[in-house]
């Protein structure tokens, strides 16, 4: 019986990796996978950037609905929705999702098996999310102002600003007026951030292969700071060599 359990423990990851001929993903790539493919604590276990894009779309939809509202109360409600999706939704609002994505890319960059490409890309990614985070704070402030507004005219002017910010959070914005969105990280929306992440992955050598969900959901950190796959106690690539 004991031998059977041991065999099963070893067989699961090996089998999921496609047999002994296949190497498991690097720890760095598993962290990247959390940002891109799947994470255990998001709705439907989507990746953090996927969630961020969904939230940015939802926020923009609410912002557009706000502009279509014809009453002060309706306008306030819609702008509150934008704030909710951008800053407050559990488990992750838009800003939380991009921050979480950034954290996992940082974990990737700090992994011993991270490539120089990932390390350099992490710094760029961290800069790229600044615009979304700043706009998130602005949306929070404007939502507060809208909630306190006493006239529809005042609330509408603020809602238009919220709409611009929500739109920029998804599509980015041409802040410097050079005709290009994304020439500066401050102009980035979720789409540009995702574009940078895709480009980072595209530069990986050896190539990044979509990480199997088993690895994505079984990576744990030991008190020592070392990352291992939970059920196998394997230490990433080394354990399979």
């Amino acid at each position: 019986m004991r031998g059977f359990v041991l065999l099963a423990v070893l067989a699961v990851p090996v089998g999921l990796a496609g047999g002994c001929a296949h190497r498991p993903p690097t720890i760095a790539h598993v962290h990247l996978g959390h940002a891109i493919t799947a994470a255990h604590d998001t709705p439907d276990q989507v990746g953090y950037m996927t969630l961020a894009e969904e939230q940015a779309q939802a926020a923009l939809a609410s912002a557009e609905a706000a502009l279509a509202e014809t009453s002060l109360d309706g306008l306030k409600r819609r702008v509150a929705e934008v704030d909710q999706v951008t800053n407050r939704l559990r488990p992750y609002p838009l800003v939380g999702a991009v921050q979480e994505a950034a954290s996992h890319i940082e974990y990737a960059a700090l992994s011993e098996d991270a490539s120089e490409n990932v390390r350099a890309g992490q710094r760029q990614f961290a800069q790229g999310i600044e615009g979304v985070l700043t706009r998130g704070t602005l949306i929070e402030s404007y939502a507060r102002d809208v909630a306190a507004a006493t006239s529809e005219e005042e609330a509408r002017a603020l809602a238009e600003e919220v709409h611009s910010l929500a739109r920029a959070n998804l599509h980015g914005e041409d802040v410097d007026g050079d005709g290009t969105i994304g020439s500066d990280p401050a102009e980035y929306g979720v789409r540009q951030i995702r574009g940078d992440l895709d480009a980072l992955i595209g530069r990986e050598d050896p190539a990044y292969v979509t990480v199997d969900r088993w690895y994505l959901f079984n990576l744990i950190r030991l008190p020592s700071g070392e990352w291992i796959f939970a059920r196998s106690r394997s230490r990433g690539t080394d354990a399979y060599q």
Partner: protein, 425 residues
């Protein structure tokens, strides 16, 4: 470094602020504290293993780690020390100060914290430039101006916010700065014109009605109508029974027109009331003195300025005005007392403690003597002697006049004057 740590550092003779220390190499953790000379991290760690309560060794280890750039490790070492320092207040204070210094240094070096600051500045700038006119957005503008310095766009945005809030005076202040910084901006000029027109409209409403809000919103320091608006505000405030606020408005008005006697008459009762509860307030004392001077009450004004200077000897304006009033008084005395034989006027002019007191009494004595009123003359001379100061010799003529009246004049004795033996009385 927080205030508490800074105070503690000062008490312990340690240097606070890692930033200052970082600029010049040297101990960072507790500058001024005699750290151990264990030399390397390993040796310091060995010492601490033997005695975890060895604070000099812990500070030396902290410095060694900081020198290596291991700020987080240095903080851990200090926190471990703090965990074990209960009841040893001096050791705790040294470690707490050291931790504060290292944390401050770490904050300056930490990219995350720098990013937070950058994001915060970006937020404040954008929130300021946005359409909100909330208190928070105005605060964001003011903080952004502190971060970004003189920025015409921020001043323009701030001015526009005040304008939308119906505060044209504040709008004007900021829009004038915006126009100065953005001379080609039509928008800044347009907003400025709007704010000027709005302020003038409110000023008219203030002067023509009982609208205190209009007065408050229109009043702006340095504008030609400031004096009129402040006086109007004072009237309306007094009408509402808000005497303190009215007093403040009148004090501002007085600073604009210190010689305005009408203003002074309105101000005096309010100042006197306020002095009953704040008798040692030098600003009130000076205001009272200036008001008395403005209504021509020279002698009370002199006394009031003397009181002002007793409360605030550094008040140069009060000194200057006191001198001017004394000159006025001297001219009046020359005309009404010294050039006449009217001793009643002279006696009524005496202000105890004034430099001219002795001269007046000497003149009175001379007049009494000349009119053969020996006892009165002697009495005046005695008073003059009591009043005299060494620096103000008695008026010539009193003693000869007494002699002429058949009396032997006594030599004048001065308060605090040196005696023959060199002592003083």
């Amino acid at each position: 470094m927080n205030r508490r740590s800074a105070i503690a550092a000062a008490c312990l003779g340690l240097i606070a602020s890692a930033g200052a220390v970082a600029a010049e190499p040297g101990p960072v953790c507790a500058p001024g504290y005699a750290a151990a000379e264990c030399g390397s991290t390993e040796r310091c760690e060995a010492v601490l293993e033997q005695d975890p309560y060895d604070v000099p060794a812990r500070i030396a280890l902290c410095d060694a780690l900081v020198e290596q750039g291991s700020l987080l490790d240095a903080m851990v070492v200090l926190r471990q020390g703090l965990d074990g320092c209960a009841g040893r207040s001096y050791a705790c204070s040294v470690l707490q100060i050291a931790l504060s210094n290292v944390e401050e240094l770490a904050e300056k070096d930490a990219p995350d914290l720098r990013a937070d600051r950058r994001r915060d500045q970006a937020f404040k700038r954008q929130y300021c430039l946005g359409p909100s006119a909330s208190d928070e957005s105005i605060q964001a503008c003011n903080e952004a101006l502190l971060s970004f310095g003189e920025d015409g766009a921020l001043y323009q945005a701030l001015g526009a916010k005040y304008q939308r809030r119906g505060q044209p005076a504040q709008a004007l202040q900021n829009l004038r700065r915006a126009v100065a910084l953005l001379p080609d901006s039509d928008e800044a000029r347009r907003l400025l014109d709007e704010a000027e027109a709005a302020r003038l409209e409110l000023a008219d409403a203030c002067l023509a009605s009982q609208d205190l809000d209009a007065c408050n919103a229109a009043t702006l320091a340095g504008e030609p109508d400031e004096l009129r608006l402040q006086r109007r505000r004072a009237e309306l405030l007094q009408h509402q029974g808000r005497r303190d606020a009215a007093l403040q408005a009148l004090l501002t008005a007085q600073s604009l027109a210190p010689d305005d006697s009408d203003l002074a008459r309105g101000l005096l009762p309010l100042v006197d009331d306020a002095l009953e509860t704040r008798p040692d307030d030098p600003e009130l004392a000076a205001a009272r003195a200036a008001a008395l001077a403005a209504v021509g009450e020279v002698d009370p004004a002199i006394l009031a300025y003397r009181r002002t200077l007793a409360l605030n000897p550094a008040d140069e304006e009060a000194s200057r005005r006191l001198l001017a009033l004394r000159e006025q008084r001297r001219e009046r005395l020359e005309r009404l007392c010294f050039a006449t034989q009217d001793i009643d006027v002279c006696r009524q002019s005496i202000l105890p403690g004034e430099p001219d007191e002795q001269r007046i009494l000497a003149h009175v004595a001379a007049v009494e003597a000349a009119e053969q009123r020996r006892a009165e003359a002697e009495q005046a001379l005695t008073e003059a002697a009591e009043a005299a100061e060494p620096s103000s010799p008695p008026e010539a003529g009193a003693e000869p006049a007494l002699a002429a009246a058949g009396s032997t004049a006594r030599p004048l004795r001065f308060r605090n004057a040196p005696a023959a033996d060199g002592s003083t009385h």
